[in-house]
């Protein structure tokens, strides 16, 4: 597939993501990328993945305890909420909000369910972001440059 085609595909995909999933943040992130920092998006997204997965593990552990420390759980969820909103993972963030509410109520069952929900959303968005990154990498490997997204309304 030639570069131009790949670029088009990327643009479309990004826009879809934008519309459905990630909100403006993904575009903001792309904007922040420049010559001086060409791998910015990759770096940030990777960082997000690592961080989130760690948080999700911590959450699983914390909720697995006989005496759940809800303060700790809440702190983790709060952090996940922050980073997911920064990266634009809107649905993850929303799931976190719900999660926190149940933490306040100290409702074990509900929080466990929330955790599942958060994980689900997280893996969804991870998938999408990875696709995005892959598309970008393909373009760059083919010698092209990442197109700036123009929303032509």
């Amino acid at each position: 597939m030639e570069v131009a085609q790949m670029q088009r595909r990327l643009v479309d995909y990004t826009k879809t993501l934008f519309m459905e999933f990630l909100g403006c943040s993904v575009l903001q992130l792309q904007q922040l990328q420049d010559e001086s920092n060409p791998d910015f998006v990759v770096e940030v997204v990777s960082l997000f993945f690592d961080d989130s997965e760690k948080l999700l593990n911590d959450l699983s552990t914390a909720l697995d305890q006989p005496n759940v420390d809800f303060k700790k759980v809440d702190a983790h969820v709060h952090q996940l909420k922050g980073s997911s909103s920064s990266i634009g993972a809107q649905r993850v963030k929303d799931a976190c909000v719900t999660f926190r509410n149940f933490c306040e109520e100290q409702n074990i069952d509900a929080t466990l369910r929330c955790l599942q929900q958060v994980k689900h959303e997280y893996y969804l968005v991870k998938n999408k972001l990875e696709t995005l990154l892959r598309l970008e990498q393909q373009i760059m490997a083919a010698g092209g440059s990442i197109p700036m997204i123009e929303m032509g309304f």
Binding site: M19, G23, Q31, E43, V44, M151
Partner: protein, 510 residues
């Protein structure tokens, strides 16, 4: 491609700057364009912005030195990038403790701090408190938490802004306003209220000695919370802009302080002990520590001062004054002179003398007047000198009313003071600072407690022409931006409230 999407949500999320970006072309012309200025991510090198650097000042706010603290690595990275895109000079930090030590090591190294609220090692609000106390930098809090309660906490703890995550770059574009605003308010504060500002940034600019670790010992109670408790805090006209409460080191309070220090011995005087000796409710150890530091600097300068008879500087003390002790001999001389000329009531002389010698005033039974010791407040700037006697009358007609206090006063004002001084309950002379003559003085001189309020002390005509203490630089303080307002409280009327003090600092040149 995309049809015009009418969903409100979508538009709401859409960052305005996004349309304005050069790469994007102005596709959404019909949409509301935001503040207009877009910081493109060009070369990331930022022009250093330091006060006084004219060339860099043109590029302001580029080069604004930002410290961003967040334990979340994703957020931290994104923020850093955004800030760099705004052409700020960014330092990032993922631990509050690290941030604090960075700030402490490099007092003037940052212009503004952005900190997350929830951090594992230290609560963001605690960090905010520390910064407010020690460095007095503007701090912006941020959090994914947008609950009213948390935001309110930010307000009460003195944050200058609160950003909700995800932070957008537009929000960061304008953070420089907090830096400018804060400095502007501090300046204004000088002018109008003349209160002591602890840990003030400008002060640090003018002093070589940074604030020592004496302020860092012990517990960190927020002085903000003590604002209402402190008896000495004066009512100020312009309090709304300031977030930190000021400790007003009135004459009485300073008296107590000096007594305590002398009792302990200047070398052994530590804030904690001083605080205990003083036994003033509502006074914190930090207040004392900061005051002590100033006092020490003053004493140091006393010992290092040499006389310059030729210039217009009025020296506070003669060269012989190596310490505070010998100073008193000069005091006596001056005081006697002053007393002789009828400008200083004899009774005052005794107490001043005693003050100079650091002795309790057995004679008059009055509390040790702080006339001389008060001067140290003005000593932040090494060049500040007090004039001596009537010999050093500079072209602004400075006269020493009391030892070391240059004032400009009309003769009738002096007389008025004299009158006032006659009926002394206690010793202190009040000289309020005002800037009647030159308009350029006004912004920089601090107004002490309004003369009107204490009008009885000076004669009526002095109300509008309160004697003005000028910097010994031979010019109104402004030229260096050093305002030395010495407030000496005349006790002949019962002044119920302690009067405000002196503060001076170099003017901020923006």
């Amino acid at each position: 491609m995309f049809k015009h999407v009418k969903s409100r949500n979508f538009l709401h999320n859409f960052p305005p700057f996004f349309f304005l970006g050069l790469e994007f072309g102005s596709v959404f012309r019909e949409m509301n364009s935001s503040s207009g200025k877009v910081y493109m991510s060009t070369a990331s090198s930022s022009a250093g912005w330091k006060a006084g650097d004219a060339a860099a000042a043109d590029q302001f706010p580029a080069g604004l030195r930002v410290l961003v603290v967040d334990d979340d690595p994703t957020c931290l990275m994104i923020l850093e990038k955004m800030l760099r895109t705004c052409l700020y000079e960014v330092t990032k930090c993922n631990r509050a403790a690290t941030a604090l030590s960075m700030l402490r090591e490099n007092k003037n190294g940052f212009d503004i701090v952005i900190s997350d609220v929830h951090m594992p090692d230290m609560d963001g609000f605690k960090l905010l408190e520390h910064i407010g106390l020690e460095m007095d930098l503007p701090v912006i809090m941020m959090s994914a938490d947008d609950g009213k309660h948390v935001v309110m906490k930010g307000v009460t703890h003195g944050a200058c802004d609160y950003l909700i995550k995800p932070v957008r770059i537009e929000a960061l574009k304008n953070i420089w306003q907090h830096v400018v605003r804060k400095r502007k308010n501090e300046w204004k504060d000088f002018e109008q209220s003349g209160s002591v500002e602890e840990g003030d940034q400008q002060l640090k600019h003018s002093e070589d000695a940074g604030y020592s670790s004496s302020a860092n010992e012990g517990n960190w109670k927020s002085s903000k919370r003590r604002k209402d408790d402190e008896d000495e805090t004066d009512e100020r006209d312009d309090t709304s802009t300031l977030k930190k409460p000021r400790v007003v080191w009135s004459v009485e309070l300073h008296q107590q302080f000096v007594v305590a220090v002398n009792q302990l011995g200047i070398d052994k005087a530590v804030p904690k002990k001083i605080l205990e000796l003083m036994n003033v409710p509502g006074l914190t150890r930090e207040n004392v520590a900061s005051h002590l530091q100033k006092y020490r600097l003053y004493l140091r300068r006393l010992s290092g001062v040499s006389q310059h008879p030729s210039n217009l500087n009025n020296t506070f003390m003669s060269p012989q004054d190596a310490t505070f002790g010998p100073l008193s001999s000069l005091n006596v001389l001056d005081l006697q002179t002053l007393a002789a000329t009828g400008q200083l009531p004899a009774q005052s002389l005794a107490t001043l003398e005693a003050a100079g010698l650091g002795r309790p005033t057995g004679k008059s039974g009055l509390p040790v007047p702080l006339v001389d010791q008060r001067n140290f407040f003005s000593f932040e700037n090494p060049k500040l000198r007090f004039g001596e006697g009537q010999q050093h009358v500079n072209n602004n007609k400075q006269m020493n009313l009391l030892h070391g206090i240059p004032t400009t006063m009309e003769p009738k004002q002096l007389a008025g003071l004299h009158h006032g001084a006659q009926s002394m309950g206690n010793m202190n002379m009040q000289v309020t600072s005002h800037a009647p003559q030159s308009s350029q003085n006004n912004p920089l001189l601090m107004q002490m407690a309004q003369p009107q309020a204490r009008g009885q002390m000076l004669n009526d005509s002095s109300l509008g022409h309160a004697p003005r203490l000028l910097s010994p630089m031979g010019q109104p303080i402004l030229s260096n931006g050093i305002a030395a307002n010495v407030l000496l409280e005349t006790g002949f009327k019962k002044i119920s409230e302690p009067l405000v003090i002196i503060q001076f600092r170099r003017t901020l040149r923006c």
